[in-house]
Amino acid sequence: MSVIAPNFKLSEFIKSLLDNVFWIILILVLIGLPAVFMILFVIELPVIDGELLTPFLALTWMADPSRILPVVQAFMATDIFRVMAFPGFGFAALLAAATIFVERKMLAKLQLRVGPFYCGKFEGILQLMGDGLKLISKEIIIPAKADKPIFWAAPVLFVATAAAFVAFIPVAPGWVVADVEMGLLGVFAVIGFFPIITILSAWSANSKFPFIGGIRALFQMVSFEIPLILSLLGAVMLTGSLNLSEIAASQSSFPWIVFLPIGAIVFFITMLAELERIPFDLPEAESEIVAGWLTELSGMMYGLVQLGTYLKLYAFAGLFVVIFLGGWNGPMVVPPFPEELLTKGIEMGPIVAGPFPGLPLFDQEMLNGALWFVLKTVAVIFFILLPRGVFPRIRVDMLLNLGWTKLIGLAFVNIFIALGLLYAGVLGPGGLQ
């Protein structure tokens, strides 16, 4: 007799099946039917190609896949797609996941190790998924005297703020979640939330090491926000706009890093500090204060904070690309869309798939822009990751000294360079751009 099923009885097996069926029916009746009624009678369904989208029409997609393309196109035009999938959260999370994998493999290579190796058969590509599953299945432990609502809310807020930051980054011409006129100011406002969330989480844990870590994070972020803002002002002056899409578009011939290298360096260093990456990972300095403000977080709460951190990393790298490296601008490398797909479709011997009148989903310019943006972002991310291998952590007083004296001074030098370029007529009206 096996241990797993000590005494198997057919009657109990049937009973368990019937139980499942009962619950499924009950849930369908209680939730599914009202939902169907809501869809049918309350929500106004969109009109696609002159036909009203009805549940019946949805069923016909299975028979004719080409009918799905207009629906997809309509969906891609909605805001929910932009927020959830392409320039927004999904795209950023995908890049963040790739970043984590690349970071681990690259760091391992630098340290003459192998890194993640066994998970996913090939060089451990599924390691992140395994880690995520582990984090989800972990118990969440909350300190007894913690301020529970804030403690619960802090990781969620952290991810939400990071996602809000991602929303400002334009990926390709016209492809940005929030194309606001004062985009850069919005970015500064969102960055300003991070120290508050950190200190909230640290304070609510009611523990010593998180508290010290939170205070350190507060020091670090507040003191580096000023050079961060100042270092970006040079680009704003040259462009004359706070809209990130306009800043990116204005660099069609020269990226601003050619004229403002000091600003780029200052922004890069402050970026490392804002991201709490080595050499500026004081808030998580494990040999001094265990894990800093993350000490008491466990399970998926910790996972959320990590997700937020890597989203933030992507967003900062994207901001660097948009402001200093010319955003999506680059030579056209994507081939034009093959027209015969629209008329003939794909011929694979006797079978002909298509034609697909709904294609192309993305135009050539957008694909090219996104490609250049991703390439540049990956390059910047590489340089963000590299210091982790070669630098030790610095100390709080050195950090504050660096932030308040050197970087702010350099940021002002950068502003004067920008002003000089404008007044000398090198740039601006009559100049190069």
């Binding site: 760091l107 630098l110 340290q111 003459l112 190790r113 010593k208 090491f209 010290i212 080595i278 050499p279 990972d281 004081l282 300095a285 494990e286 040999s287 001094e288 204060i289 265990v290 982790r388 291998g389 070669v390 630098f391 030790p392 952590r393 610095i394 100390r395 709080v396 007083d397 050195m398």
Partner: protein, 378 residues
């Protein structure tokens, strides 16, 4: 910053501003010990080291075992440096039992001792690196250590706890072709550790981080009775391999590395220079070693000492001078064995160095003292 706390006395007055932190034993920055730290803002006002979490009474155990069976457990305090921690005991037992060691055995001991010193320092360096947040400096030494561990394993048959030295020589002869393999791997090892300079020792961030922190002046280093790299980093030229050469160190050319600064950086650089020096010593010893000959004197099964007498022998281990005081009373077991370990001697400097330091300097100052908690507790 001046604080008017009496030296050596810590942790009595606690007021509102002062926060007490228990750094250890369940803390990534302490090892098997606890440092009770009181901080005012970011400054440490008082510090009280609390060792003893891994105390296992080696000295008491040694009184119940005979001179040979003491060997496997007396090396347990520092398993990474197990040849060196056994060395003074073996020298003392030889003097008590009246044994003359063969020449080849002395050279084998010197090679094993120097290899073990490098193995220990690499482990220490790995932890020093990770304490400073430098993960590459954790992985590189931990990996390059394997070269020497491989040599020790070829030589003694065990990777970590060798139990190789016995009164009367060493347990077994070198394996065939050992000299070539040893020379090749030691040369590569030296090339590797010289590559650490660019990433670690000449790294400006590391230098600015560790320079002028935890400064131990020459007078204080002598007064506290510190030893090893801590002492030599404070400008005292004292190395037992030169000053009181045991076995065949008087026939080898040993250079002592001394730095004057006495800060955390100097204390971390001295062991690195020592490793390069150890590679030189190994090469010399391989060259001068007699190519054949016995490596062990045959002893009677249970050797007894002559009478009630005592002996104090010391060697230079990876952490400093390591002494062993043996009292014997004409029996097969020693009457009393006392290990005078360098970690315990250096520990006294910790509260004095940390007072007035910043909290961020605590790991680097603490670990630069070359402190090994298990050895200090014995």
């Amino acid at each position: 910053m001046t604080f008017t706390l009496p030296p050596g006395l810590a942790l009595q007055k606690v007021d509102e501003r002062i926060m007490t932190l228990n750094v250890g034993p369940q803390h990534p920055g302490s090892g098997h010990m606890r440092i009770i730290v009181q901080i005012d803002g970011d400054y440490i006002v008082a510090c009280d080291p609390d060792p003893g979490y891994v105390h296992r009474g080696e000295e008491k155990m040694a009184e119940y075992r005979n001179y040979i069976t003491n060997i496997p457990h007396l090396e347990r305090p520092v398993i990474h440096d197990s040849c060196n921690v056994l060395y003074p005991y073996v020298l003392g037992a030889e003097e008590l039992l009246g044994i003359e060691v063969p020449e080849r055995a002395k050279y084998v001991r010197v090679i094993a001792s120097e290899l073990n010193r490098c193995i220990y320092i690499m482990y220490w360096l790995a932890i020093y690196g990770i304490f400073l947040g430098h993960s590459t400096m954790f992985m590189w030494p931990a990996g390059d250590r394997e070269l020497l561990i491989d040599l020790m394993e070829k030589m003694t048959g065990a990777r970590v706890t060798h139990a190789h030295f016995v009164p009367g020589g060493v347990r077994n002869d070198l394996p065939p072709n050992f000299e070539d393999v040893c020379l090749r791997q030691v040369n590569y090892f030296e090339k590797r550790i010289k590559e650490y300079a660019a990433v670690f020792y000449d790294n400006p961030i590391l230098i600015s981080r560790t320079q002028d922190t935890g400064v131990l002046s020459r007078e204080d280093a002598i007064r506290y009775g510190t030893t090893g790299s801590v002492l030599r980093a404070s400008g005292v030229d004292y190395d037992l391999r030169v000053k009181e050469p045991y076995d065949v160190y008087d026939e080898l050319d040993v250079h002592t590395n001394v730095m004057k600064e006495g800060d955390s950086y100097a204390r971390s650089r001295i062991p690195w220079l020592d490793m390069i020096e150890s590679c030189n010593i190994i090469r010399q010893a391989l060259q001068k070693m007699p190519k054949s000959g016995s490596v062990r004197v045959k002893l009677k099964p249970n050797p007894k000492t002559k009478g009630l007498e005592s002996v104090y022998k010391r060697v230079e281990s990876g952490r400093g001078s390591l002494g062993c005081y043996i009292v014997s009373d004409a029996k097969t077991e020693p009457y009393r064995v006392k290990l005078s370990v360098p970690s315990f001697r250096n520990l006294i400097a910790l509260p004095n160095l940390l007072r007035g330091e910043k909290l961020g300097n605590m790991p680097s100052v603490y670990w630069s003292l070359n402190y090994w908690p298990v050895e200090a507790d014995r």
